[in-house]
Amino acid sequence: MTVHTAHPPGFAHQFEDMEQQREAGSLGMWVFLLTEIMFFGGLFASYIIYRALYLPAFEIGSHLLEVKFGALNTAVLILSSLTMALAIHSAQVGKRRAQVGFLIATMILGAAFLAIKFTFEWHHDYVEHLVPGFGFIIRPEWGAAGQHVPMFFCFYFFMTGLHAMHMIIGIGLLTVLTVMAHRGRFTPEYYAPLEVSGLYWHFVDIIWIFLFPLLYLIGGRYIGGGH
């Protein structure tokens, strides 16, 4: 009989060693993220088709979005991805207080993204009657393409809405992680919850990296010099 050596905290017995456990955890998270790719992929595929069918309307719609808020939010999300990566780095080198600090920073940046999205963009769109189903007004200056502009805004609100929902879930995950990190649950040997939640957070960042050019930028910004 082999000597039963002390095993690291968080080690589950069905695995050979911590390395195998970590790999299995990441693989499982990636499988979930692949289903998320297909989930968002349906929206992206239909966006491409309807954009091809109603290009003038999509360009009018894109012009009505504010690039500055889209670009600012991209920067905020990229910074939050950096702080998330640094939180995991802090766990790997065994710095507990830095972990908590970076996790809180990530949460604040995520909340800042949502605040910019909701107050400066969605609320502004509502006031401007650009929300389909909530008093959308087709403007005469849009011409014949005007009847299809609500289609663009349906995509805009569903895509950014689904993304925002993922952000809210992410902030919920970060809240739990912050408490766990504060209690010293993560060690250089075991930080799987941080690692897989980090994968989720970066995935949501990647979705926005594609939404930003698709919704804000490729609508022929140069026509008439933008705003």
Partner: protein, 111 residues
């Protein structure tokens, strides 16, 4: 033994590169490049995605199994988009069916 540790310096470098690419893609959108505007925007987005996936998500240092799984996911997304477009964009290639009447010239040959 813990997983591969990426240095803080590299993380900061990736972060700066991502910010520069965001500024670049925003700037390029205001220059009239015709159809190339869309190509440039998506190409920059793909580069940014690769930076996040390879370094922030540690895929560069992950095992082959995870890398193969991710490629499979990308492949299925490509199938989803390509096949849907192949249907939608080629519908006008064949004539619109007009019911059984279109078979008349063929059937009349037997009478």
């Amino acid at each position: 033994m813990s997983g591969h540790i990426v240095s803080v310096k590299l993380y900061l470098g990736i972060f700066v590169a991502l910010l520069c690419l965001t500024a670049l893609t925003t700037g390029v959108a205001y220059i009239d490049l015709g159809a190339f505007n869309t190509v440039a925007a998506l190409a920059i987005a793909v580069v940014k995605m690769l930076l996040v996936v390879l370094f922030f998500m540690h895929v560069k240092y992950s095992g082959r199994l995870i890398q193969v799984f991710i490629l499979a996911g990308v492949l299925f997304l490509a199938i989803l988009v390509t096949f849907t477009l192949a249907d939608e964009l080629t519908r006008h290639w064949s004539p619109t069916p007009t019911g059984w009447g279109m078979l008349a010239p063929f059937l009349l040959r037997f009478f």
